[in-house]
């Protein structure tokens, strides 16, 4: 291997200490610097003026990483990760992360988020119907792309009052969802499951069956119903106006973005 240090253009030194402060290396048959290290400790490959700790400028297989015969590379011209035979493994563009050769915007993974939410009994508009917060033992959500999974386990305290939004015969909803349920068009509904409920008053409905939950697009609450012999009945606010009323649920739905 031949390395040529090309005097003042290829090897620069500090005028007083003679410390090498910038180095450029090029192949003897080329006048273009192949590798450059400047005074800011930036290293450039294919560029004489790197503006980052490592900057690679080239066409084609820009950045090749190999290990034990397997080699992949990043093609910066299209933000594509390819294997060495040129097969696209993944692409990152303005839509998000796309796998393999897929280019459809709808299939791009553009978001991931985890967090918490605060469930509470409410009316159809999401207004709290009780004047005390629930004890939330667990309320977690995960959003992958547009897909949201929200779970919770909560209980009301032993005693509480009602707000102006409470109506004993009003339809009960569960509010506090972390995202708006969304879909275009009509008749788009999403369902969930109820794992446990406790301290409900079923006197009004005369039933003792597990609640069902669902939500409709462009709303922010879960509807609460119960199965009947030929359909469902609406669970009322009075059914949970009991100290300690609570439940465990998981709901999954799409949101807008």
């Amino acid at each position: 291997m031949t390395v040529t240090i090309n005097g003042t253009t290829g090897l620069a030194t500090d005028s007083t200490s003679a410390v090498v402060e910038a180095v450029s290396l090029n192949h003897p048959s080329s006048s273009t610097a192949a590798i450059t290290m400047d005074a800011s400790d930036n290293v450039g490959i294919g560029t004489a003026s790197p503006d980052a700790k490592l900057k690679v400028v080239a066409t084609g297989a820009n950045l090749l990483v190999g290990y034990a015969g397997t080699q992949n590379y990043f093609d910066a011209s299209e933000n594509i990760f390819r294997n060495f035979s040129g097969t696209t493994l993944a692409r990152i563009d303005s839509d998000g992360l796309k796998f393999n050769s897929d280019t459809a915007a709808a299939n791009a993974l553009d978001d991931y988020e985890e967090g918490h939410w605060s469930p509470f009994w409410c009316d159809s508009n999401g207004n709290a119907i009780f004047d005390a917060s629930a004890t939330v033992n667990f309320a977690h959500y995960t959003k992958v792309g547009r897909y949201v999974t929200a779970s919770c386990y909560f209980n009301m305290p032993g005693s509480f009052g009602t707000t102006s939004y409470y109506s004993a015969g009003g339809a009960l909803r569960l509010g506090g969802l972390p995202f708006t349920a969304y879909a275009t068009g009509s008749n788009n509904y999403y369902a969930g499951s109820v794992g446990w409920y406790s301290s409900w008053s079923w006197d009004a409905g005369g039933v003792s069956v597990s609640p069902l939950i669902y939500t409709r697009h462009n709303t922010t609450v879960l509807n609460m119903v119960y199965p009947t012999t030929n359909g469902v009945g609406t669970i009322l606010m009075q059914n949970v106006n009991v100290g300690g009323s609570g439940m465990i649920i998981t709901a999954t739905y799409f949101t807008q973005a």
Binding site: E113, E114, G115, H116, W117, S118, S124, N125, G126, N127, A128, Y141, Y165, G176, L177, P178, F179, T180, Y182, Y189, Y214, R216, N218, T219, T220, V221, N223, V232, T234, T255, Q256, A257
Partner: protein, 83 residues
């Protein structure tokens, strides 16, 4: 070494036909200016919902986008949601 907990509404989104507000609250633990950890809490505000407990910023956005027409349209949508 100074530890502090900083709570911010770091994302407020207006989404969908009825301009529902999605608010993300970030709680960060910061030591000497360096964020050590953070977590998110989210909630939504529908048109016509009571926003008295929301921040001034959320209240202002709600006042701007949740017009009487939007609230009426949303309530009609909600009323029609029973299958």
């Amino acid at each position: 070494m100074a530890l502090e907990k900083v709570i911010t509404e770091d994302k407020i989104e207006v989404v969908g036909d009825f301009k529902i507000l999605q608010i993300r609250t970030k709680t960060a633990v910061i030591e000497d200016g360096v964020e050590l950890s953070s977590s998110f809490h989210r909630h939504v505000v529908a048109p016509g919902a009571d926003v008295s407990g929301e921040s001034a910023e959320v209240q202002a956005i709600a006042a701007a986008v949740h017009t009487a027409e939007v609230i009426a349209a949303y309530q009609a949508h909600v009323a029609a949601q029973a299958i």
